[in-house]
């Protein structure tokens, strides 16, 4: 009778505890039954409550982790949605919303002084590639002085 009760009480404990300390808990319960001269019913109730408390605590920990992960994921999604919506509404882009340049090696499309690049001529010669005209080249007055 007590063996079946002990087994039933053990089942109330979380699996992790049963796997790690199952035989020890059974032997401890046997010791408590053997040495506790008082009411066995009270002892069984206390042990059953202990097992349930351990199980609830174990489950609560798992659910807490799940809840935190869910809340974090939801928060990330909300931030992403907000950023996307802001981008569509023409909100000025700040440093943290601008994606890093993936093609930084591209040939610049403007010269350092802000003058647009000459398109160059079609061809394979390096002289045909886009280039910056200097002020001397683009300004007829300066160009005339240089000559």
């Amino acid at each position: 009778m007590s063996n079946r009760l002990t087994g039933a009480i053990l089942l109330l404990y979380p699996r992790r505890v049963r796997e790690a300390h199952g035989p020890e808990i059974v032997s401890l319960i046997d010791d408590l039954i053997a040495h506790e001269g008082r009411s066995r019913t009270g002892l069984f109730i206390r042990l059953a409550v202990d097992g349930l408390v351990q199980r609830i605590a174990s489950t609560a920990t798992v659910w807490t982790v799940v809840a935190v992960l869910a809340a974090t994921s939801f928060g990330d999604l909300a931030i992403s949605d907000f950023a996307a919506a802001s981008a569509h509404q023409g909100v000025p882009r700040t440093a943290h919303t601008i994606a890093p340049a993936r093609h930084a090696h591209r040939t610049p499309t403007t010269c350092p002084d802000g003058i647009a690049l000459n398109a160059g001529r079609l061809g394979s010669s390096p002289r045909d590639s886009p280039r910056c005209d200097s002020h001397r080249d683009s300004d007829p007055v300066l160009r005339g002085r240089g000559r």
Partner: protein, 99 residues
């Protein structure tokens, strides 16, 4: 490292020698008046074993005795010294007759 109260009780009991579950519960009850439940005891033992503060010895008739490791002895000494310092300070203040 901050030890939980139940861990301090278990380590203090093991400082007196190797003990298995039932002996631990009875010893702790005798010196502190706290009756640990099996779930609480083995939860504390699992944590202490994972931290390297206690060591589970080979089974002796289905009962696994536990032993305090040197690391466990050191952390217990540190925690008890801190408790003693706080207790001493508290007693001094009580003796001075504060509000």
């Amino acid at each position: 490292m901050r030890l939980a109260e139940r861990s301090v009780l278990v380590l203090t009991s093991l400082a007196g020698g190797d003990r298995h579950g039932y002996a631990l519960i009875k010893d702790i009850e005798s010196f502190s008046g706290v009756a640990l439940s099996p779930g609480t005891l083995y939860g504390a033992l699992a944590k202490l074993e994972a931290d390297g503060f206690v060591q589970r010895l080979p089974a002796d008739d289905r009962r696994y005795p536990y032993r305090l490791t040197p690391a466990g002895r050191a952390v217990l000494a540190e925690r008890l010294a801190e408790s003693a310092r706080i207790a001493s300070l508290g007693l001094e203040r009580i003796a001075l007759g504060g509000p």
